[in-house]
Symmetry: C2
């Protein structure tokens, strides 16, 4: 066994029209998320931009959020952090168990800007990178995630390096080196969820993918079995000792014949917080009309173990941690209604939300529900009890959003710009650019800049 | 329990004179190793310098190996890779199970150059960073190393961020953020040993430590329990589920009362290859006068499991992999004599070495020997059998080199410069600078530059 099937896939596999179509949807949603982060005044992106300006360097790659250019590695860090800053970006709770587009587009847009590549090149490279991450996730994603690694960043570094190798037209030797070097740089921890470190480590994944592929292009090399060797990347991340090779072999056996993105789809988010909270939000929104929040004695969240381990902020002390809190997201939905980016920024949650959070508690989820589903039970002082079960929340890859939902997400993301009289990017222009394969990526990067 | 004892140690603990004295020894040895790498024409450093020039950026930090300045993050990458390029740099096979100075000085010299800090500041920060890495190694270093992580890079990122926090005089809040952000960036795999990726990932550790501390200084924050939370950094790296907190608490309990660097010491290397091969080299050198290499039928390496797992290149295909090969290092010592940097660069091992490697095989080490010891058995065609047992090789922290040994290492490292008529750095000048605490680090960085 060797890494060859993966490298052959990365360097040679034609991308299907269907996969490219989904890639176009993910690109527009990724731009929407970066716009939403900037429009809502997220501080992380602003600080990474300032850091980039302090560093200086060759202005070779335009970034997503401002009319500035940086070395591609630093541009990738800013792009990926911007797409992921609000936890509003696409995700898949199968295979990757993470956010593919933040790291893939974070890296690809930076390199494409430097290389004057086209939108079509980037969409193809995304499809290749998504599939590489999906197969590596099949090989070891469950264990690595449970062990504490943030797959978006760990798998993502390798997947993004593979995507860049495709974009740059690397031969097998350089593609293998890019993938292997990226594996030696991959990091990111779930324990950081809620803090600046979460989008930062996604930014690092994209930046490291650029570094790994650039150094591979310069001739740096590493062992060909980095991914699956005994005590190699897969086993270090949590695959049981000695099983790395078999897992890798199984997961890559039918590359090119089966596309995970076509079989499993991808989740686009309606709400800017952890995907494992979305069932609770949907259930809360459904019950909201019948609830009197002042009279609630308890809110019981029947949640999966995975959801509870991922959303560890039971009593979040700030809005950023609230993104990874089942009680806080349910309380926001019950008290404030539809959760928007503004609910998860600033210093403090609204008083009504904080008061409701302390009345929340947990119970095991019904066995029949998937990890991403749950049941909400609300008890009132007068004895009224309300229930809602959400098996698969809206937006989940098995319950996709409509085109109108995506457009509404974009309109909401750009609303703060329009409300403050700043020119906002236009859906029709972005939509058209993304569906014209031979347009240069730099045209796209120029388009969302209007107004900020 | 909180991270406070560690943060208090980093921000406030006075450094003892004895620890500072050892720090001075490690700094001179680190410079020796970087000089040896450059003088022997190592290609990795040259490529990282080229990458740094491509990136450009604010010329704020001088590097070790050339008269160039880069952003501190990129300077740290080059410095650390240069110190570690030949695997000639100091190491400790207890606590860290890795190379403390490459990552610590790689990062510290870059930041000190930017901040116009003194040699004394850097030596103190090294002592703090060494101890942080030692305690984190006590908490989880065995498991992480066995699992496949390269402690030098993983522990090293966190230790170097702590050292920088000390150098910059961070308060507790910023020091905690620097340490936590560094943990979310830590990576590096043992499977890369032998390839460009090994020194590169040490360079990445130093670069990420600079990035983490710079972003912490700008106000970025992460969870305070990143290191020891359930499924946090220690557990992700291999500490059994749920034991991270107890391990951290135990390992940091007597910080400031006990100094690992004083109790356990540090290993300075005589030979530029993995420390687990040094027993085999010493044994081979001891037997060499009595051996006729043409007549050898077998060389049996009685080695520990740890040594075999770390040195996985049984039949190395190139000189770089030979650094992590028990057969190759023993064969170099038997055929060529004293192993020098020149033996581990270039495209191919000498024919005589290659012929002897295929006659090498393994046997279990005697139970009484430590991981770093072993027994060599050489059989000749005429039936002559030679044995040599090395329990603890020369240079090991329990069998320290003399001052004359260190001077001889420096002279050998600079010999290629003198041989080619280039001016070489002078021991006396470096020695004096390192022992004058109020001299600026930039004076030291200027000193080794003479001639290349």
């Amino acid at each position: 066994m060797s890494i060859d099937p993966l490298v052959d896939f990365v360097t040679q596999q034609p991308v299907t029209t269907e996969a490219r179509q989904i890639a176009a949807d993910t690109l527009l949603d990724s731009l929407t998320c970066a716009i939403a982060a900037t429009a809502s005044g997220d501080r992380l992106v602003e600080r990474l931009v300032r850091h980039g300006l302090d560093q200086g360097g060759t202005p070779e790659a335009a970034i997503l959020t401002q009319s500035l250019q940086f070395p591609a590695q630093n541009a990738a860090r800013i792009n990926a952090a911007a797409i992921h800053a609000l936890d509003f970006d696409d995700t898949t709770l199968t295979s990757w168990i993470g956010h593919p587009s933040a790291v893939l587009y974070g890296a690809l847009l930076a390199v494409a800007s430097r290389e004057l590549a086209t939108v079509g090149d980037v969409l193809d490279a995304w499809a290749i990178g998504f599939e590489v991450g999906a197969r590596l996730g099949e090989a070891g994603g469950q264990e690595s995630y449970q062990r504490g690694w943030h797959n978006t960043a760990t798998l993502g570094t390798v997947a993004a390096a593979a995507a860049i190798a495709r974009l740059l037209g690397f031969d097998a030797d350089r593609a293998q080196a890019a993938i292997g070097l990226a594996a030696t740089m991959s990091s990111g921890l779930k324990v950081a969820f809620g803090s600046d470190a979460k989008p930062l480590q996604v930014g690092q994944a994209a930046a490291n993918a650029v570094l790994a592929s650039d150094l591979a292009g310069q001739g740096l090399r590493t062992a060909s079995d980095v991914l699956f060797a005994r005590h190699g990347w897969l086993e270090a991340l949590g695959v049981p000792d000695g099983q790395g090779l078999a897992r890798f072999t199984d997961a890559t056996a039918d590359l090119g014949q089966r596309w995970d993105i076509l079989d499993a789809g991808i989740t686009f988010k309606l709400w800017p917080c952890c995907a494992y909270t979305h069932w609770a939000i949907e259930a809360a929104l459904e019950l909201r009309e019948r609830v009197n929040t002042d009279q609630i004695t308890s809110v019981t969240l029947h949640a999966s173990e995975t959801a509870r381990a991922t959303c560890r902020h039971d009593r979040p002390s700030n809005p950023a941690d609230a993104r990874f809190s089942l009680p806080a997201t349910a309380a926001v939905a019950l008290v404030e209604g539809w959760p928007s980016p503004q609910h998860f920024v600033g210093e403090q949650l609204p008083a009504g939300v904080r008061e409701l959070i302390v009345r929340c508690n947990y119970a095991p989820a019904p066995d029949a529900l998937p990890d991403w589903g749950g049941e909400l039970t609300i008890e009132h002082r007068d004895g009224t009890i309300l229930h809602s079960v959400v098996e698969t929340p809206r937006g989940h890859q098995r319950r996709p959003l409509s085109a109108a939902d995506m457009r509404a997400k974009f309109d909401a993301a750009t609303a703060p710009l329009r409300a403050s009289g700043r020119p906002a990017p236009e859906w029709d222009i972005l939509y058209e650019l993304i569906r014209t394969p031979d347009r240069r990526v730099d045209e796209l990067l120029a388009a969302p800049l209007t107004g900020y």
